[in-house]
């Protein structure tokens, strides 16, 4: 199929417009992060800092417990990701291989859990965790993040399990391997790349998550990066644009890096799922 040159040019122009729309806020964030305070106070802001500086980053680290918050985020997100794939992988295996009522119920939960407003969930969760003395503690937040990332983890992993031929497992069973043995030494190694991608996705989800962290964490020593960033803004609006932009810029980098790593896998498995249907 040929497209006329005029139409082609129009398509490129439209694509360019999309990219500008999608990219400019991020470019502006980066630009603000590297601008000296004098330039930020000036009347005519420019796209490219005239006199780029790292002062904002230094100030952000000096004035706010940025490292502490980053460490909290790193710990909770890693723990949540590891626990999530650890519990989701066996369940996804069952959902992919067995058409039981349980598997159907689990699929139903994956869909329905998307529709509930968090208020309805967070108040009882808050009370339950309070009784377990897990309020204002990172383990409590990890638990919530695990459940929060489970639907997507289950969905991704179920797709990956389906891609592993059942014949391989049957062959192992014929050779006398038990169910657990088959799972551990045949299926899991083949699933490894999928499990890694799922874990990374769960990591980003937990790293970015804000609402639960806002409600569940009270003391400043416990807060995660997104919560700290909102404290930067304060009640009376933005005080210091430069350090705020610098901290926000840093908080985004891990998510972008991980996403770049798994981007192909996420879109790829989506496409595979759609085509196979």
């Amino acid at each position: 199929m040929r497209t006329r040159p005029a139409a082609r040019a129009g398509q490129y122009a439209a694509l360019l417009a999309y990219l500008v729309f999608l990219a400019f806020p991020f470019v502006w964030l980066a630009s603000t992060a590297f601008k000296p305070a004098t330039e930020l106070a000036g009347l005519h802001p420019t796209w490219i800092p005239k006199d780029p500086t790292l002062a904002n980053f230094r100030q952000a680290f000096d004035e706010q417990p940025l490292l502490r918050a980053a460490l909290n985020s790193l710990l909770t997100a890693s723990a949540a990701a590891l626990v999530a794939v650890a519990v989701a992988t066996p369940m996804a295996y069952v959902m992919a291989r067995h058409r039981s009522a349980l598997a159907r119920a689990a699929t139903g939960w994956v869909v329905v859990s998307q529709a509930f407003p968090f208020v309805l969930l967070i108040i009882p969760l808050f009370l339950v965790l309070k009784n377990l003395r897990l309020i204002d503690s990172l383990p409590g937040l990890v638990l919530v993040h695990v459940v929060w990332s489970l639907p997507f983890a289950l969905w991704m992993l179920t797709g990956y399990v389906r891609a592993v031929p059942a014949e391989l497992e049957e062959a192992a069973a014929v050779d006398g391997a038990g169910r657990l043995r088959t799972l551990v030494s045949v299926t899991v190694p083949l699933l490894a790349p999928g499990i890694a991608a799922t874990a990374l996705f769960a990591f980003v989800t937990a790293w970015n998550e804000f609402f639960f962290a806002l409600v569940l964490l009270k003391t400043p020593e416990q807060q995660t990066l997104p919560v700290l960033l909102t404290r930067f803004i304060g009640a009376e609006g933005v005080a210091d644009l430069g350090p705020l932009a610098a901290a926000a810029f840093l908080a985004t980098l891990p998510s972008l890096l991980v996403f770049a790593l798994i981007q192909r896998r996420i879109t790829g498995s989506l496409l595979a799922g759609a085509v196979k249907g």
């Binding site: 999309y18 066996p90 069952v94 529709a115 009882p124 803004i233």
Partner: protein, 325 residues
Amino acid sequence: MAGPTPTRKGADAVTSVTEARRSAPRAPGPARPGRRAVDHGPWFLVLPALIPILVLSVGPLLYGIMLAFTDAQSGRTEPTRWIGTLNFQDLLQDTLFWESFRIGLVWAVGVTVPQFLLALGLALLLNQDLRLRWAARALAIVPWAMPEVVVGIMWRLTYNPDAGILNETLRDLGFGGDRDWLSGLATALPAVIVVGVWAGMPQTTVALLAGLQNTPRELHEAAAVDGAGAWRRFRTVTWPALRPVALAITALNLIWNFNSFALVYVLTNGGPGGRTRLPMLFAYEEAFRYGQFGYAAAMGCVMVAVISVLLAVFLVGRLRGGDER
């Protein structure tokens, strides 16, 4: 946000569609007779995920619905009592809540519709053999990867009346440009809606792109040979194949957007004068600022109920509209 916060979304939409389709023709693999008798394995494999789901998702949900019928408050010493539907009766009189609810609907529809149209356009472009398509695809999902709080901060910087690039650009173009977008009574809601559209576009685009790859290419070419124009080809070939995905992602977007929290919390915190106070922000304040757990839970129930009804109406209407195929 969705849960619907946030991240993760788009993909689920596609799943539910493909899931439903895939399940039917599958050979009954391991559920074969003979093996069933010893099928105790699944229980033990399912337990590690099932316990957290039951304790931290299903359980709290039921508990939350129960709370809506009590006078539960934070930090109270006397025991919580059942008060029947009193919370709901109060809610009916609560004009502030209904105003917030109205804003929530305007926001949800105002974000979902442009989000869908823009994402459809982008997905159609990305589905073409354009140069630099890979770069565009990678760039197009950047908003998906970012923490919502950072998205909010980023747009605050953009909208900033003095140091923001938006007003500076408007000044350069000679349109004045001394507006305070997020504090203006008239501009605040449209301004946050733009951010909502921006933030949710990638998931929708990815889901629609997945659907587009599903359209039979030969049909498209045959239609072109027959002299069908681009619009006609879209209507007769592309759209029928895309419809299930489009419906699923739009329904999910509506839910996610209605339940949205972090973006607006960072951008305006509900201001100015409540003009952007989405129901989630309202319920959050009720629960965690004023400690009215029971009342806030009732709000949550009302939100679920209304959204379920709207969604049912939307889906039934759409599905019926497609029966002529």
